[in-house]
Symmetry: C2
Subunit: 238 residues, 2 copies
């Protein structure tokens, strides 16, 4: 047992009232608004919308609860802001990646190459984009599985990207029907969702043989698994 009394009021910040004086080095502290979003992103990704209180968000961000409402209005507005913040970056990058791939490989596109181009951005952000991106990945995964929240943002940013992917797949599998491709994507989407969530289930199931956090390996397996899956659900070429 530690002798530290964590309940003691550590006067780390005097909690001055009113607008804070402007600090020069804006690289360190970052924006207050952003730090609230960071805290909310972290907590929402772990416990869901109802499992997080405004007080917890405010405490983790180091601000008063009223400030959360000042910036984002009701709790739902905070959630939407968190979900929106990275949605555009995330999807623009995926779409650009597959467009670039298609342009550089006219006539020689492969399913493996195209899917890898589409899947790699989220994996890379989750790996190297800092903790915020990892939390966001888990949040998207969770939201995709239960779209009570984020439904509108999903439709606005995520659906067009997926439709573009399916368009390009049609160039590789010209005999494929739309309905086949949508169902195939659905299977891939579930795999992607579960993987980005990094729940640790696989670690336990495999007795440590596989590690959820090993996203590079996960991406490789997913590309191979899904490419074969897409081919299998489409009518064979003549």
């Amino acid at each position: 047992m530690s002798k530290l009394d964590v309940t003691a009021p550590v006067p780390v910040a005097p909690a001055r009232r009113g607008r804070p004086p402007k600090v020069k080095a804006q690289g360190v502290g970052g924006d207050t608004r952003e730090s609230i979003l960071d805290a909310a992103e972290d907590l929402f990704s772990k416990h869901g919308f109802y499992g997080v209180t405004i007080r917890e968000v405010a405490r983790e961000a180091g601000v008063d609860t009223a400030l959360v409402h000042y910036y984002f209005g009701a709790k739902r507005g905070l959630f939407d802001a968190v979900f929106l913040r990275r949605a555009e970056v995330w999807n623009n990058e995926r779409v650009e990646a597959i467009n670039r791939y298609a342009l550089a490989n006219v006539g020689t596109m492969t399913l493996e190459g195209l899917l890898r181009a589409f899947l790699e951005p989220p994996f890379q952000w989750s790996l190297k984009g800092g903790p915020g991106w990892k939390h966001y990945s888990a949040l998207v995964a969770q939201t995709n599985a239960n779209p009570t929240f984020g439904g509108e943002t999903m439709a606005r940013y995520y659906d067009p990207a997926i439709r573009r992917l399916i368009e390009l797949i049609k160039l590789i599998l010209p005999q494929a029907r739309d309905v086949d491709l949508y169902w195939a994507w659905h299977n891939l989407s579930g795999a992607l969702t579960l993987t980005l969530g990094e729940t640790g289930r696989l670690d336990r199931l495999s007795s440590g043989l596989c590690r959820s956090g090993d996203l590079e390996t996960a991406c490789d397996y997913m590309v191979r698994f899904a490419s074969a899956g897409f081919r299998a659900v489409c009518p064979p070429s003549p």
Copy 2:
């Protein structure tokens, strides 16, 4: 606008106090304990643990909130009871199905046949087991994606079934490595999870071309998609 005043106290039940007199036809009303579990199952599957209040469960079950605590103790105990109720049935049936398939097809097993045997029980329960089973499917899907809850039950009932499946897959793909099979299962698990959740995301994405509720179609696609995927991630046979 309806002229009905829905706030008026409809005296549908006088709410008598004390132990209720025994009713003869126990086929109609069902057990009170079970009806609380049914209500909780429905609500938890839609809104998650924190998104449901004891009061809502009690109201939907038509009982007092104190009765929920009488049967299940704390709220967490209620959730665990919901999750446990069908876990054994669900997994015993899956394991029996693949064991039966393996015994009836010694030496002639196919991946398609084995996976179909393993996947069909949950799909069939969700389709024909009544609304309770559909809610439970969604709950399992959600819990698999965020195992803050149900982790222990998952490990106790679900992991052994999956390990048995992988054992049998090894008979079909003898050259496969364990790590390949676990990662392949992980991909399938995500697809299964998302599909059983019936979130409606695919309906919207495909502009109505695919229907989430069409589980028979979903199962067919999943068997074909995953069988090819399993083969693709394993070293080719010599």
